[in-house]
Amino acid sequence: MGLNIDVHGLQLTYDTHPVLDGTEFSVERGDLVALLGANGAGKSTLLRCISRVLQPTGGQIILEGQQLQNFNTKEVARLMAVVPQETTADFDFTVEDIVMMGRFPYLRRFQKEDQGDQEIVRRAMEMTGISHLADRSIATLSGGEKQRVIMARAVSQQPEVLLLDEPTANLDIGYQSMLLELASRLNREKDVTVIAAIHDINLAVHHFNRFILLSGGRVLAAGRAEEVITPENIQKSYGVSASTYRHPLHGVLQVSVVGGRKTGEHVEGGPAAHVIGGGEEALPALELLSQKGCRLSVGPVSAQDSGCRFAHFHSLPVIIVPPFTSMNSEHRSEHLKMMRKADAVVVPPIPFGEGNLPIFEEVEIILKEGKAVYIIDLEGVEARDYSGRARNLLKGLIKQGAVALEKVEDLPAVINSGYNRDGGGVNER
């Protein structure tokens, strides 16, 4: 059935340090809620207050209209199951023993587990895919298997509310989504209210439909992903600047804090490199050079291109051309200027067609001016040449001094050595 949970002005103070400071929210029955927030924001503490392991020092938790304190321990255990981050399983219980413990709140003292209990346990193990482990000792299982056993125990508890406290923190990516998928299946099929504290926001947005963001023991935002997961909220709660975007493959809102620089912030020093073209093929070169501290420029690319997104994300100079058109003279002269500013020009293994072949004319110009030009994967050009002329054009460039490199990984070394030789480099600084 699922239950409503209302949390009113919850307070909890460890020594003098308030961990929960007026936490306030409500969860509707059948909600699938991800509890987000930085370390120490109070996620685990809040869950432990709801599961009654901790006594809040103030405020109220209301379960389906009734005060949580008014339930006894077994009643609470029949309503709520908890899956913790990690379970130490030092003793030699079998998997089935552990799952059977989920029936504890339903059994009277000395009452034996009956067929009904056994059936529930069997189905819980089936659902979590651990039937084949039933007789194994819990101590011999891997982290992922163990966590599924704990999940099966929670299922056999037949709860109305499932609380998960960073259940995926120690799991590999396969088990992570398997476990959260199990939680959302319980939510779908049995209408169980699920509240999960979770670190990985990008994982959370896949599996949950409501989000509560905690910061300093208070609710900073609650609601749908778009309302909660915003750069401003991330900045406030996690203290990092982040960008949010729709994932190109699955379209789900994502957060990235990696390598994002604010506009106007530039890398000091380092060789300047211009990477021609964009697309998935240019990204490895862009990423590698960016990592090695090169000042990059990109282009020409179309606005929807991943190279263009990369440039925007890192606030790099970029030449954008409209899609499905060839470059006009304005673009071409701009491109020439951009290449002139760089210490080196890179031709990544991009596809060639009549549309982008004119680029080579400008490349030829800067080659003659003595600029270093690196062509990656000359051998493989035929497979991505839609004009039939690219190979010859590239060979022509090499005759005029361009350098052919086998793979992207060779780039940083040659660019750096060229940079140092030309007197812009490390030696002088």
């Binding site: 709520m80 030699d92 219980f93 023993d97 413990m101 504890f104 101590a139």
Partner: protein
Amino acid sequence: MAVLFMLLVFSTIAAMVWGAVEIAWRDVFVVLANTLPFYESVAGTEITQVYRDILLQIRVPRVILAAAVGSSLAVAGAVFQGLFRNPMADPYVIGISSGAALGAVFAMLGGFSLALGGFGAVPLFAFAGGISTMMLVYSMARVGRAVPVMTLLLAGIAVSAFLSALVSLFTYFAGEKLHMVVFWMMGGLGGATWQQVQVMVPYALAGYICVSFFSRELNAMLLGEETASNLGVNTEQVKKILLVGASLLVAAAVSTSGIIGFVGLVVPHFVRLVAGPDHRFLIPASALLGGSLLIATDTLARIIIAPSELPVGIITALIGAPMFIYLLKKRRKLRYFGGGG
């Protein structure tokens, strides 16, 4: 379980047959049968009164006492190991034995002739010392309404060390009573009487019942208190009850027999190695095995240097340790307490 029960019966019979004086097993049965009110004696006449007295006044109470002490220690050991989730825990871990020893030494050196219900001062003081130590440790470890097990364990170790130092201090000045003190601390069942049985057994039974009510809770507690609580165990209440129950068992055992080591540590492990950690089996099985083990070792203690006696604590360790090591080696995958612990 049936095997363990047979073991208990067998060791009981052996204990009655062997001793400084050997009595034929047939005679043992006859004498025992004759004590039953409705049984008409058949061949009882040939058995001398001396044998009858040896059996009924000395060996039978001693065997019962050995069984009670052995099972009390084993059950208390199982409970403490489960409660503290620590394989090193034994019945004496929270200092009950040190408290009892202090009480006993105090009584011996003070030469009190206090007697209550036909009881000597030594067991009375020992019992009081054990129980008050447990209460002291409990109150020291309490934080608000909760008693964290780790604090309990540490407080127990600290109190135990302090009391042991006091015992050593008194022992140092014991003078001519040194022999008595040292012997008491090695543990033994010499001079067992029916009176002791009458007092010890009710305590042991009360403690055992108290503990066995909470076997399933104890299983859940093995997974950690938080998990147990999430499964619907009222952890603070269960801890308190188990602590009191196990302490009763230990105090009763120590006050009747002194400090007998090893039984309480090893017997539960032994059962776990063979049958797993489920307390619904572990507790009764430990009781049976502990009882049998102490009967058997006590019998050995009586006959090895007969007519004199060895302290039984020496035998339990001498025999129990190699047996335990053998079992550990045999089950090489030491997984019953988890690889890393």
